[in-house]
Symmetry: D2
Subunit: 145 residues, 4 copies
């Protein structure tokens, strides 16, 4: 299943070449990751991070940049969950320019579940694993399976 | 007394108009504020914030932007301490372009001492008040007056 | 008349004190300014900046920070146009936390119209002046009065 | 040959988990890339970008995050040039925490030479190819080979 979030390129997000400064693509991926929690899993990311004190730091990222984003461009970030491990999840992101439908960037990003106090990896708690699995198998947040 | 810190405009710090995106001036002011602690007060800001759990959030900022900074520009931030109150300090910042000596921006920024847990204003602790006063009266960090 | 835009505090927008890093408030003001063009004036800011090569850099900002924004907070930026000069406009911004209705920050920001190539101030073109006046007097973008 | 640049983690560069927000690692890589031009190749990056109108956008990045950076951490970015192609260069970056010598992150990043106006890939000009080769083979910027 794919979740999508839409954003616009802001005035201060470009670099001297007048295209989006490439580190900001990772900010876009992270914003889409945050939106995915509230929009697709039915549980906002702050609930996980602030209330349950669990983190999902990135431990690996592989990214291809195919076409630039420019000031004013509107774009979509497609989010897929490609793997659910014992302590980690692996997501795939595709950024598509809405103006011409071109793929701007693709990334595969692996996040590991940690206890925010110790920063040690932890087994993904069952209530989250179930949400991840429900999303991967195509059910929405309310879908009773 | 004036403390100065020097920085360069980075590739990703400009906006579509190819001048520094104005919110980043406040990041420059804050960087200079952080440098002022280690370079002029003899105590790094993380010592205050992390070890002593004190914060100095900004509660007021007045800023004039006089000349743009461009990619590659090297600039100096001059830092002055204009007032020491019971719970707050007021700093003046001047950004000067090193290429032509022109003033790029001026700001007066007021910071209040807080307990980082409660976020309530607190009386500035004496050991910090002394450092602030020593700086204002022209002594360096080690100067015993 | 007041225009409002809503945003959320993102995971990477806080500082070590776990409240929004204050320079980012100015990014929020600018985002609301950009939204105001498309949402209230009926003409996206990129149209002004990219097609007409006009800029509106900030030349003065006065800001008060009253209550912090935290990770996950949803907030509204209220935008008012308080003055239309020959070459400049002055806007007032109020950031309100949607959770408890508290005012987080207030700013008055003056922007001057410039030619993006020369960076010289210019008289605000009539078609933009009319849009600004229509907004100030309470008409929407399509309102023919 | 390896070039190194040192930086500190700033107050506003962490996220809610109080470690550096991972997109900022790419900003650190880019800052080190910019420093590499002036410090190792003897030609500032703005000279390439502004005067010669050549860009080196990132087209691929593979990154591993091994240990977090925290507020106040001082770190070193080691920069190596691992490949020089017809139109691209591939760099390796290693971020090392100066406090304990631990590797925080590793990246392999490929940049393609483009004409900044057309955004089309171009053959790397000889004067830049020579600088790249001199660095890779261990000569400093002034080394006459």
């Amino acid at each position: 299943m794919t979740f999508s979030a839409e954003f616009s390129v802001r005035f201060g997000e470009v670099d001297y070449a007048r295209v989006v400064y490439y580190p900001r693509f990772f900010h876009y991926f992270h914003q889409a990751f945050e939106e995915w929690f509230s929009g697709a899993l039915g549980a906002p990311y702050p609930e996980l991070v602030v209330k349950e004190n669990i983190g999902f730091p990135t431990i690996r990222a592989e990214t291809e940049f195919l076409a630039p984003l420019r000031y004013g461009d509107r774009f979509r970030v497609d989010v897929e969950l490609v793997d659910i491990g014992r302590t980690s999840i692996t997501m795939a992101y595709t950024i598509v320019r809405l103006g011409d439908g071109k793929v701007s960037a693709r990334a595969t990003i692996k996040n590991v579940a940690i206890d925010n106090d110790t920063f040690k990896p932890m087994r993904i708690p069952d209530r989250w694993r179930e949400r991840f699995e429900r999303f991967r198998s195509g059910g929405g947040p309310e879908a009773p399976r």
